[in-house]
């Protein structure tokens, strides 16, 4: 596939040097289009190598040079890689929301209050372990999701606008939150393990987790905005 693109590009370059209209020369064999509207039936495709007739305008008449019509297989490969990485980012991001939500739900149950309200000193309790496992899974998946966004190729000269700006701005909330939440969780776990009531900065673990999850959810919605449900 890539080889054929390179061959096509090389052919276009040689044609351009020979003074052939690149807009026509660079086109590959035409496809057989699929039928559509009754009023707009498509005819069998034709090769695009015929020179324009005298009464047909050319791209040169429009002030469009051969270099403007010349494609770049390298640039296309960069875009393909970018799209692939962002698709993985999207999929991982959606999947990450599942353990994140589950960790939020199991969080209050993992506070391990005893029957009479006293702190339980045994961290082996199943719901606490489960909460820790969910938190760990969420952190790992979040890191993988972030990797695919951060290392997707950037397209130079593009000034970002639209929903993507909100999506990216929210990183400044859920990013630090995803670092802070497990750290505070570990501190809280150690305090409980030592038979202490959770105190100090560790007591903010739940609140930080909730803010992080809210920002993460908002980020998911922002990149999908505007939503027009119509099935």
């Amino acid at each position: 596939m890539a080889q054929s693109a390179l061959v096509r590009e090389a052919r276009n370059s040689s044609l351009a040097m020979a003074g052939v209209d690149a807009s026509k020369a660079q086109l590959p064999d035409a496809p057989v289009p699929v039928g559509s509207d009754e009023q707009q039936q498509q005819q069998p495709p034709q090769q695009q190598t015929n020179p324009p007739q005298q009464n047909e305008p050319t791209l040169g008449d429009l002030g469009i040079s051969a270099s403007q019509t010349q494609g770049s297989a390298r640039q296309q490969a960069l875009l393909d890689k970018r799209t692939h990485m962002l698709k993985v980012h999207q999929t991982l991001g959606l999947i990450t929301a599942i353990p994140m939500a589950a960790a939020l739900i199991t969080g209050p149950q993992a506070k391990a209050k005893g029957r009479n309200g006293e702190t339980i000193t045994e961290p082996s309790q199943a719901n606490l372990d489960f909460h820790i496992a969910l938190g760990g899974l969420t952190t790992g998946m979040y890191a993988a999701t972030a990797y695919y966004a951060a290392f997707a190729p950037k397209v130079p000269g593009v000034k970002k606008k639209g929903a993507i700006r909100v999506h990216e701005a929210l990183i400044w909330v859920h990013g630090p939150g995803m670092v802070l939440t497990p750290v505070l969780g570990i501190i809280a776990y150690k305090q409980e393990n030592a038979g202490e009531r959770v105190h100090g900065i560790a007591s903010a673990h739940g609140a930080v987790a909730e803010i992080t999850a809210a920002a993460y959810g908002a980020s998911l919605i922002a990149v999908s905005w505007p939503i027009h449900l119509k099935f």
């Binding site: 707009q40 039936q41 495709p45 695009q48 305008p57 494609g71 970018r82 999908s224």
Partner: protein, 185 residues
Amino acid sequence: MKRRLSLGLALTVVSVMASALAFAQGDAQWALEKSTLTYHMSHPVHKVDGVSAAAKGKGICHGGECNFLIAAPVKSFDSGDTNRDLHMVEAVRGAQYPMVVVRAKFPAADTASPTVYADLEVQFAGQTAHYAHVAFQRTTEAGETHITGTIQATCSDFKIDRPSFLTVPIKNEIPISVDMTWKPM
């Protein structure tokens, strides 16, 4: 005096009629003054319009036949979200085939009516598709000819792998709305 007035009136009528019919019948050349090309993309949770005002065009009517050429850079289509626009350029192989080129052909004699039926050849995404007998509405005002219409294009016409969101692909139909103003050269 009366004869001169009659002659002047006749010349005026003839020149007005000539300019009105110039787009339709005479040998003439036309330049695209301004235009908006809009693609419409549909998805169960999204509706997107991408607009380009960067098209260039020229038309030649000669020997009873009109040939028009319109070209626009693929990357000039703006949907209001750069992330989506870059994805669109990738999906339609816009870096490899940076221009969308439309050639329209119609008999000059058939264009006196307010509706012009043109045969189109569209080069896009490295493919060429033909659309026969596409209807465009034509109005003329102050020496400018205004053309509007819709090309019922589909992703499969150009072998475009439909982008998906939440694992659901966009609709195959991507109608292109055309709004152009032409001036005689």
